[in-house]
Amino acid sequence: MSYPPSIPRKFWGVDFNSPVMLASGTAGFGEELLDLQCLSGVGAVVSKAVTFKSREGNPPPRLLETPYGLLNSIGLANPGVHHVLEHILPVAADLPCPLLINVAGESVEEFASVVSVLEESRVHLGYEINVSCPNVADGGAAFGVDPEVVLRVAQGVSRVTSRPFSVKLTPNGGDMVQSARAAVEGGASAVTVCNTFLGMQIDWETGRSILKRKVAGYTSPALLPLVVARVWQVSNAVSVPVISSGGVSKGEDVLQLLAAGARMVQVGTRLMRRPFAAGELMAEMKKLTGE
């Protein structure tokens, strides 16, 4: 890479117009983005997680703001793959940018099952395979912490689709570099680095956590250095492009992640405050790079 970097606009051979992707779980399936007309600067949308059956998600409250970030405990709430295929993807067809569908599961097989069903649609470009969720069938640790399991999940997905897919890794245990290599071996066309870091807040007076599941996903602009380090480590170890996820709130942050080796950069929590974040980030980047 040459420095200062130019703003990349192509990915997987497709024109993305922008390196900024909206992160899974923070942009729905894109329908609301159409209503709000906040798609300027969006390179691609990643849908919220889709599982085979519908999931009502975790009991409320599901969000808790901490002094420097946000804890979320959504619990993969979604209407299930068949509902998504029939009722949501047709609406998402109006998106002016590519859509990736984030796929989750509780067993190695579920990922491929979900993808098989979605293969009927022509709306989406590809998938993001979310191996950060707990492997219910196999003890409850996240799939992503075991490279052997990541390999099997990726192989399963490769078998049922020829679309590109990224495997979204977890930073909570295991060896991310090994898991990334396993994803590539299994046929992944990219890896996403990374899902949320486990976090928790307890009320010291009562000893209780406000979020019922206690441990939740923590996001914060202060986590940027953690994501930069992991993007750098993984992008130096694998041949497929790395999509970064986490810590972005300024145009400078996107440029830093690109410099660290990311090819696309997701933004999530920032959208909670700035629905038009993608356009704002692009404007800031153009100003900084003089493009």
Partner: protein
């Protein structure tokens, strides 16, 4: 459906109307032509990095060239909002959510608990005439309302009747109303719901609250347990729901 936009709104006026309760008037013509009673806005409390989300506040009323909010200072976000001064510009997304289902020519009964009555003014201004019942801990928590008919109950008796708002609800009032709007803390709303005999419950709409991420339906963070099982989104399916939609038991368990 109203058009949601992210506006830079000018603060025209800010004042403390009750201890710890702030009223801010913003300039925003587009909101005047778009907003409906019961809708809310998402305010960016600071131009700094933290907090990372906005704060949802119900539109208390429309003004000639904008709108007015009324809120309680309860934490960091509302504290920062209380420091907003005339002349400042604030980022505000709105109008958001589904407000009160307003049937033309209907007779309204409004039951509010404390700051839950914030937003009633917009409804009163829209429906023309309404009977309003307000409950509060003390006179220091009774927000100002311009209404032809407003009865107040305070727990400490410092103004109006002494006791809870539920005591003000009479069969006559329920009978007479076509629509009943309830807004306040969860426990108060449940008490009101339980006070209302089932034959009148179809008239009841309640305005819910939840911790919010986005405010416009993308994050699934604001779930309200509904009686059909599962959840609905406070920000998009609500905040106003038919009272019968709510699963009161599971909602109380949320401990919001």
């Amino acid at each position: 459906m109203s058009v949601i936009r992210d506006y830079d709104c000018l603060v025209k006026h800010s004042e403390q109307v009750l201890p710890g309760v702030i009223r801010i008037v913003f300039e925003c013509m587009e909101m005047v032509s778009n907003a409906l009673p019961g809708q809310f806005v998402q305010i960016e409390p600071s131009t700094g990095t933290f907090p990372v989300t906005r704060r949802p506040i119900t539109i208390n009323r429309l003004t000639d060239d904008g709108f007015e909010l009324l809120f309680d200072v309860v934490g960091r976000g509302t504290e920062l909002m209380g420091e907003m001064r005339t002349g400042e510009t604030v980022r505000i997304l709105g109008p958001l959510g589904r407000g009160w289902m307003v049937h033309p020519d209907s007779t309204w009964l409004l039951v509010g608990g404390g700051l839950g009555a914030a937003g009633f003014q917009f409804l009163i201004d829209t429906v023309g005439s309404a009977k309003v019942l307000i409950g509060a801990s003390s006179s220091r928590r009774v927000i100002p309302l311009e209404s032809l008919s407003c009865t107040v109950a305070t727990e400490d008796g410092s103004t109006g009747e002494t006791g809870l708002v539920t005591a003000l609800i009479s069969r006559d009032l329920l009978e007479e109303a076509d629509s009943i709007a309830v807004c306040g803390p969860v426990a108060m709303m449940e008490a009101v719901w339980n006070t209302i005999p089932s034959m009148y419950r179809d008239k009841v709409q309640v305005s819910t609250e939840s911790r919010m991420g986005c405010g416009w339906g993308v994050c699934d963070g604001c779930s309200i347990p509904v009686s059909s099982g599962g959840y609905k989104k406070c920000c998009k399916d609500g905040p106003v729901f038919p009272g019968s939609d709510i699963d009161w038991k599971r909602w109380k368990e949320a401990g919001l």
